[in-house]
């Protein structure tokens, strides 16, 4: 969904703003000037480094900040010989290197600054952070997240190729509770999601999901509960549905489309129209139905994946 997709991205950006520290975004290569420099010398520094402002430092401690605006003011009043110490903004707003980025963002917003000097807990200047630095770091981090997701997807879809063994099988087991219409379908739903994560083709996933769901509903409706076990191999998926229910007395009859022994309340739920087993038949590549009256039913379903 587009709407939720956008909000998810925003949430991730917000998370990043809390996770990432100022020191990860800041520039460490610092150009600084001392309070004794003249404004003419400061102008040279800006020109050479192509920057628009610098912190003012005296014996490792930050004493002020000076920007191109201060320079323009000095130019208009012909005060280029005055010192940086006279024209700078003293006691500037700073931010600690170990603070989360969101603090820097809110400081930018509060003061309308484009940059903030970064100090450590000993009040020594260690870097400078700009809005651009923050945007770049967040974008880079989103890209890393995206690559990780791509790698995860690739790994999922190449899961079997990456495993070297004579036999590989992943087994998913689910308990199915009798008469539980609220939870009915959870086994099939979970299996569907797992198969999708394993990179199985959507058409095959759909067939497995539909057949498993029908088998699950049969266990919920007609039995006292049972199990669904799916075994995923490189070239086939086998799903077994087992129950200790009343059993089916005439399997051939049960396989006929439209044949049903469902009570009225089941039909009111949209089931019990005698299409379950024929539907399963239509989805599988192979099926075997074994049942003993009074003992239970065992349905084997096989799907080829290649």
């Amino acid at each position: 969904m587009l709407g939720s997709g956008v909000s998810r991205e925003v949430t991730r950006l917000q998370e990043l703003a809390y996770e990432l520290r100022v020191e990860q975004a800041m520039t460490r290569d610092l150009v600084t000037v001392s309070p004794q420099h003249t404004m003419t010398e400061f102008q040279q520094v800006l020109r050479i480094h192509r920057i628009s402002g610098t912190p003012v430092v005296e014996s490792a401690k930050m004493v002020g900040i000076i920007s191109i605006e201060d320079l323009i003011k000095a130019l208009t009043v012909h005060a280029m010989d005055s010192t940086v110490g006279e024209k700078m903004t003293p006691n500037p707003v700073t931010i600690y290197a170990d603070e989360p980025l969101v603090h820097a963002v809110s400081e930018f917003h509060r003061y309308g600054f484009g940059r903030l000097p970064v100090i450590n807990r000993k009040d020594e200047l260690v870097g400078i952070v700009t809005e651009g630095d923050i945007a770049r770091l967040m974008l880079r981090q989103l890209e890393v997240d995206y690559r990780k997701e791509e790698i995860r997807r690739y790994r999922a879809s190449h899961f079997f190729q990456d495993i070297v063994a004579d036999q590989v099988a992943i087994v998913f087991g689910y308990h199915v509770v009798a008469q539980d219409f609220e939870g009915a379908g959870e086994a099939a739903s979970n299996l569907k999601q797992n198969l999708t994560r394993l990179g199985i083709h959507p058409q095959i996933v759909r067939r497995v999901a539909v057949a498993t769901y029908e088998a699950e509903m049969n266990i919920v409706i007609y039995t006292s509960g049972g199990e669904i076990v799916a075994e995923v191999r490189p070239n086939q998926i086998a799903v077994e549905a087992l129950d200790k229910g009343m059993g089916i007395s005439n399997i051939e009859q049960a396989m006929q489309p439209g044949f049903s022994t469902a009570p009225r309340w089941v039909q009111d739920m949209g089931f019990g129209a005698g299409m379950g087993l024929p539907n399963i038949q239509a989805c599988v590549d192979h099926m075997k139905l074994e049942s003993k009256v009074g003992v239970g039913t065992h349905l084997h379903m096989t799907f080829h994946t290649q």
């Binding site: 999901a209 949209g270 299409m275």
Partner: protein
């Protein structure tokens, strides 16, 4: 057909929150029998149904149904809406009957989801051809 066009043709409303109305549906299927839903639909189907219990959403999820329209002015119970929101399946509502809601969409060009091989075989057995 995009969901916003679907809503326009059936004069319907969205039930679930944050429905992406740009979502496309390829075909329609009107059914109150969940086994029919599982048998007849394909990935990308718009399901139209008068049944509102949570199993409709489950069946839709298994069958790859893209969105569900509840007909005859039926509003599903909260558990159905909750499951649909969790599974990301948009729920829409139409005040018209199943017949009329389907008819409006079919007339507007939304095709049917086609025939089911098994029932088709029985048709041929009964009537030939």
């Amino acid at each position: 057909m995009k969901l916003n066009k679907v809503l326009e043709h059936i004069e319907g409303k969205a039930i679930t929150k944050n429905v992406d109305l740009d979502r496309e549906v390829q075909m329609g299927c009107g059914a109150d029998l969940m086994s029919d839903v599982l048998a007849f639909t394909h990935n990308g189907t718009l399901l139209l149904s008068g049944l509102t219990n949570p199993q409709v959403v489950r069946a839709a999820e298994m069958a790859g149904v893209e969105a569900i329209v509840f007909v005859r002015g039926k509003i599903p119970p909260p558990e159905t809406i909750a499951l649909a929101e969790e599974r990301g399946i948009p729920l829409l509502a139409s005040k018209y009957t199943l017949f009329e809601t389907c008819g409006r969409l079919y007339q507007a060009g939304l095709p049917s989801c086609g025939l089911f091989e098994l029932t088709l075989r029985r048709w041929h057995d009964a009537f030939g051809g």
